[in-house]
Symmetry: C2
Subunit: 256 residues, 2 copies
DNA sequence: CGGAAGATTGAGAGTTCTCAATGCCTGTGG
DNA sequence: CCACAGGCATTGAGAACTCTCAATCTTCCG
């Protein structure tokens, strides 16, 4: 069962089916896709900013992020990638990545050559699904601009956690009200544009309000509705609407 | 001549040719594209967040932005659109926009129905170019996350101005060292995640360092190289590389 | 047990925000 | 032609938020 959960083709199929219907022909095309599985330790670069590349990767198991280094060595994480995501799908169209993609924990990825990936576009449903997947990633980036630009520390932190549990839920990685998020507060700070110290204090505030608990790698959302309200969260930007009911901040739940 | 500059098909053609080569067949397909020209006054919404839509628009003349409203009514501008840009091209693939697109000055746009736009994808070169255009927009959003998240006010402001003159240059809207940017400091603040007051002070700092001048709607970059350095700017993320020479912060110029 | 990485806390410094007043420019009505 | 209103830019000053520095604590692991 775990096997199937972490089978590259299964994962890709499930991801694509969340945004577009696939026929059995489509599934055959996916199953025939030549791919190579690679294992990375934690904190390893998968591709580096400005690299020219002829392949893209599909996250199978683990956790990764895309980041940029700005002057004076500060780091900004601009995306967090969960299993099923394709962090550098864009490189198919630009041949070059503008961020470094790094693992955050030991991670398994499937490598797909652009020449094979491009072939999938011959298949209309798959092309549509890949399109949507890229466009949805862009929508997340836009929401992050708003999050980092206009929300206060506690709200901003809550917003990211709510986004993550929502995306985790969509891939079946939420058990009860908990999910694994084995990242450090420093990484969280780099994703939120905040210092470690302030991340720590924001998390404490959320804990003291009884909204979350975070023990080891396990984050539990104790009151999702309240958290979503504090977070100023509206799931629309994730564009899960194609298959799921729209959820709004005023009545937000994962179980529907 | 001005006529040709503002002809929708010309514009689209030029935009696409910046990222992919077009054949005469391609040009014919573009010329045959049914489109309707619409005029908007300043500060008018073109499409609103969460709208379902069956069309996309191409900016012909003027200036627009995409924004989100976060809790407590604050606004974050997540993208600035110049002539030749397609602010809601993504809606072709999601059927819905996650931002409001608004004009910042009187603006002329071409409306293209999705049914016609989708047809263009039958044409490989055009499809490639549209792909790249969307992916490049996403790259800009990622850079904005880093800009807003990790750069200080003055640097952040300088970075946006440098990005804008670079993009303006690419569409031929720079005369000498100047371009028109008829937006208020409040709008600039909403794009930078800063208060108006602080925008004003950051601009003053740039002015006092002899880097820019801003008179009425005309911004002049007095020392582009120095500005790019202050801005921590590296043009790679704009992905103009396909046709232009790469420009780096250490030796940055528009005239090449 | 020692060491290392990460979490937590305190305190002062620095940046940015908000509030409020003033100045500047432009278009309009008298 | 001029006074005036409105929108925007500019400046001052204090408040609020976040950062940095530094110390301590906890946990994990060899």
């Amino acid at each position: 069962m775990l096997n199937r959960l972490h089978d590259p083709v299964e994962l890709l199929q499930r991801k694509l089916e969340r945004v577009a219907a696939l026929t059995s022909d489509d599934r055959r095309a996916l199953a025939a896709l030549p791919l190579r599985v690679a294992h990375f330790r934690a904190d390893q670069d998968i591709v580096r900013q400005a690299d020219r590349t002829l392949q893209s990767c599909l996250l199978i198991q683990g956790l990764a992020c895309s980041y940029k280094i700005v002057g004076h060595g500060k780091r900004q994480i601009v995306a967090i990638h969960l299993p099923g995501d394709m962090p550098d799908l864009q490189s198919l169209h630009l041949g070059q990545v503008d961020t470094t993609v790094m693992t955050m924990v030991p991670t398994k990825v499937a490598i797909i050559l652009h020449e094979h990936l491009g072939g999938l576009f011959a298949n209309p449903h798959i092309a549509t699904a890949l399109w949507r997947s890229i466009v949805a990633d862009a929508a997340i980036a836009r929401e992050w601009v708003a999050n980092v630009g206009r929300r206060r520390a506690v709200t901003r932190t809550a917003h990211l956690l709510t986004e993550l549990i929502t995306r985790m839920y969509a891939i079946g990685a939420v058990k009860g009200d908990s999910f694994e998020l084995p990242i450090t507060q420093e990484e969280l700070g780099d994703a939120l544009g905040m210092s470690v110290v302030h991340v720590n204090r924001s998390l404490r505030a959320l804990r003291q309000q009884g909204l979350i608990s975070w023990v080891g790698p396990v984050v539990s959302i104790l009151d999702l509705q309240a958290l979503a309200t504090v977070a100023d969260f509206d799931a629309d930007y994730l564009h899960f609407g194609a298959t799921a009911q729209g959820a709004t901040a005023s009545s937000y739940s994962l179980s529907m």
